[in-house]
């Protein structure tokens, strides 16, 4: 009895020790969300998807939005890795650990969301055992591509994350571990190259190909969607990877990553956003003038209900953030504009994923039917927000206990307080 009480006190102090009031409240909220997630996770897994607001017309919802967002924004990991290890832009090294961790978590929770979204999660391995592979190298089903590519890339991310874990101040003391970590760092470029190769495929398939190949669904059909999603991931992901440690640094009131690193990454992001913006305009033109009429529909008639054309307008407005603030040096050098630009960039990508899913499913399939809507149930909210809460908690744990930010270690010798 005494022992368990001591254990509980030790855990509690370990997590909450020395935290400010605001931090404590934040932690209570995050743990609360995690608890809700666990409760409703059991309900969904044991009693089925009837407890969601998805239905035969609105087939996917919060969790696929989550997947699209997580994978899309997690694309910052491969882009940053590529620039650091292949282009040898060493000024990005201070941010790479955080990026890899966030990337790892994004893909991990993509799998978690998918586990809930499958009607038969116990059969998830069918995607590997009975893949829908047509003739030749190219898979028949985009989801087969996603299954394999995401899994391989997840392995890459694990390998990329291992050194961060091994560099824990206790573990690194062991000579063998130190050696492993050292050699892994040397060979990390292979992971970066492989990861980029894999990412081009799954970013394309999950973000765009999946939707673009549905020839019978005019609301999504667009052969170029695959390629556009890759560019989107690179653009939005880099901004996202900038924002996360920036926010963490603001909360901790420490310089976790030098401003120069942020500026390089956001400069890359802004540059890719130009390409994405052009691609998006091309996409809108093609869909409105070519693909929608091919499917016998008027592009603008397909927008309606709650998820109307305002989503495109909002996305285009948000584009201005990165296009202006991240590309013009005088803006990018000012912290508040840089952050605004990055945030708008992330927002634009998020809105585009939302419109793919919400607008896509709400558009009527029959001429005599109207637009439908989707209101996630408490189960869906809890699992989605719960997963986000767990991601934040893991990130915070890593910030506290692992050398996530070499720049910080460099500058600060004593313990970081919360």
């Amino acid at each position: 009895m005494e022992k368990s009480k001591n254990l509980f006190t030790a855990i509690y102090d370990g997590i909450f020790g020395g935290t400010s009031k605001n931090m404590r409240i934040a932690l209570y909220v995050l743990f609360g969300l995690t608890a809700l997630f666990l409760i409703f996770a059991i309900q969904i897994l044991f009693w089925g998807l009837g407890y969601t607001d998805m239905d035969n017309n609105f087939t996917w919802g919060a969790w696929i939005i989550g997947d699209l967002g997580l994978v899309g924004l997690g694309g910052g990991a491969f882009t940053t890795g590529y620039i650091l290890y292949i282009f040898r832009v060493d000024k990005l090294r201070p941010i790479i650990n955080s990026t890899v961790l966030i990337g790892f978590m994004c893909y991990l929770f993509t799998f978690v969301f998918l586990l809930f979204d499958l009607g038969q999660p116990l059969r998830c391995w069918f995607g590997f055992a009975y893949p829908n592979w047509g003739k030749g190298v190219y898979p028949h089903s985009m989801l087969t591509e996603v299954f394999f590519c995401l899994s391989f890339y997840f392995c890459v991310l694990i390998v990329e994350l291992i050194p961060v874990i091994l560099e824990h101040k206790v573990l690194i003391k062991n000579k063998i571990i130190a050696a492993i970590a050292h050699y892994m760092h040397l060979l990390m470029w292979t992971m970066a190259a492989g990861g980029t190769f894999l990412s081009f495929f799954h970013q394309g398939s999950l973000g765009g190909g999946m939707w673009g190949v549905l020839y019978a669904k005019t609301v999504w059909f667009a052969p170029h969607f695959f390629y556009m999603a890759v560019v989107a991931a690179m653009a939005g992901g880099t901004s996202f990877m900038t924002l996360m440690p920036y926010i963490a640094g603001k909360i901790l009131k420490k310089e976790l990553v030098p401003m120069e690193t942020f500026q390089i990454l956001t400069r890359v992001s802004g540059f890719i956003f130009i390409f994405y913006f052009i691609f998006r305009i091309y996409d809108l033109y093609m869909v409105a003038n070519v693909y929608a009429p091919m499917g016998g529909r008027n592009y603008f008639d397909m927008w309606g209900g709650y998820y109307g054309f305002w989503m495109i307008v909002l996305e285009l407005i948000l584009f201005m953030g990165p296009l202006v603030f991240l590309n013009i040096k005088s803006f990018r050098d000012q912290e508040k504009f840089m952050v605004t630009g990055a945030a708008c960039g992330v927002g634009a990508i998020v809105i585009s994923k939302l419109s793919v899913l919400l607008h896509g499913f709400s558009a009527p399939n029959f001429p005599w039917k109207g637009f439908t809507a989707y209101t996630p149930t408490i189960q869906e909210w809890s699992i989605t927000l719960g997963c986000f809460a767990v991601m934040i908690l893991i990130y915070m744990a890593f910030v506290k206990w692992f050398p996530l930010f070499p720049h910080l270690e460099h500058h600060d010798e004593h313990e970081a307080h919360h």
Binding site: W47, G48, L49, G50, T52, M54, D55, N56, N57, F58, T59, W60, D117, L118, G119, Q120, P121, R123, C124, F126, G127, Y130, P131, N132, G134, H140, S141, M142, L143, T144, V146, F147, M210, V213, L214, Y215, A216, K217, F221, N289, V290, Y291, A292, P293, M294, G295, G296, R297, N298, D301, F361, N365, F366, P367, W368, T372
Partner: protein, 283 residues
């Protein structure tokens, strides 16, 4: 006994005459009974409803005002799409290529099968289907008490978390095939059958048969002027060269269910844009 390796020559299709359909609902009843549809105390959660055949009600409210209105019932089931050859790309139904576990496939007789025991419930096929023909078992399918007594053994009871859909009653084909074989008729093409819905239609609005047989009633109806297919806009392009050019750019569902009507308002309601000038310009 050696059975000659005979190729399946039949391609099953259906023709539904909307000018004869009175909306009596017997097709829906027969399908539910034949295919062991799950029983719910409250089946009014229509978006989550598990049924192979949906009796849709149409009006021309979109195009007309009182009293120039009309109404019709349209029995809708899986349209057993074919897709079309797109350049070198083979024809594929929109829902078959997307399944990550190959739980659905287009058979030699044109019927798109659905194997619930392979299905992982990802619902990608449901997302791809333009006709909302696939139902997902959001809840565990149940049959209260004595209702279990009327379940057929020819159709498996699917589990929750899997997709189910109309298969043109291919289990009845199998039943007839077994009977034919037992009677010594071994040719696979000797087997003809009727799905439950067609069997019970009192006005003869529903016709079923072999689309590959030019003398069959369904073939004649499918090729008649009165035939129109749900949202399959490629049909509206009459010029064969333009049609081929468009089909080389994109596949179209190419369903095997043909609706028949002489009523112009109904033909217009089967299209989002009845005139679709843009599509014609595009081709």
């Amino acid at each position: 006994m050696i059975v000659k390796d005979v190729k399946m020559k039949r391609r099953w299709g259906m023709a539904i005459d909307l000018d004869k359909c009175t909306g009596c609902g017997k097709c829906s009843l027969a399908c539910n009974q034949e295919n062991n549809m799950p029983i719910f105390e409250d089946d009014s959660d229509v978006p989550k409803r598990v049924a192979f055949l949906e009796l849709m009600k149409l009006t021309n409210d979109r195009d007309a005002k009182f009293p120039n209105v009309k109404t019709a019932y349209l029995p809708k089931m899986c349209q057993q799409c074919e897709g079309n050859k797109q350049g070198k790309h083979p024809a594929e139904p929109p829902c078959v290529t997307v399944c990550p576990a190959v739980a659905t496939d287009r058979g030699d007789d044109g019927v798109v099968s659905q194997i619930w025991s392979r299905c992982i419930g990802c619902r990608y096929c449901q997302t791809a289907c333009p006709y909302e023909a696939r139902a997902f078992n959001w809840w565990k399918p149940e049959y209260e008490g004595s209702f279990k007594n009327s379940l057929s053994t020819d159709v498996s009871v699917a589990s929750r978390g899997t997709i189910v859909k109309c298969t043109f009653c291919s289990h009845i084909w199998k039943r007839e095939r077994d009977k034919a074989v037992a009677a010594g008729k071994l040719d696979i093409n000797d087997v003809l059958y009727t799905p439950a819905c067609v069997n019970t239609c009192p006005t003869g609005a529903m016709v079923f048969g072999d689309l590959n047989d030019p003398d069959s009633e369904v073939s004649k109806l499918a090729n008649s002027d009165r035939a129109v297919r749900l949202t399959n806009v490629i049909d509206d392009i009459k010029d064969p060269a333009k049609k081929k050019a468009l089909m080389d750019k994109k596949q179209f569902p190419n369903p095997k269910v043909y609706y028949l009507t002489s009523q112009k308002w109904l033909r217009d309601m089967m299209r989002f844009n009845p005139r679709n000038d843009a599509a014609k310009k595009n081709s």
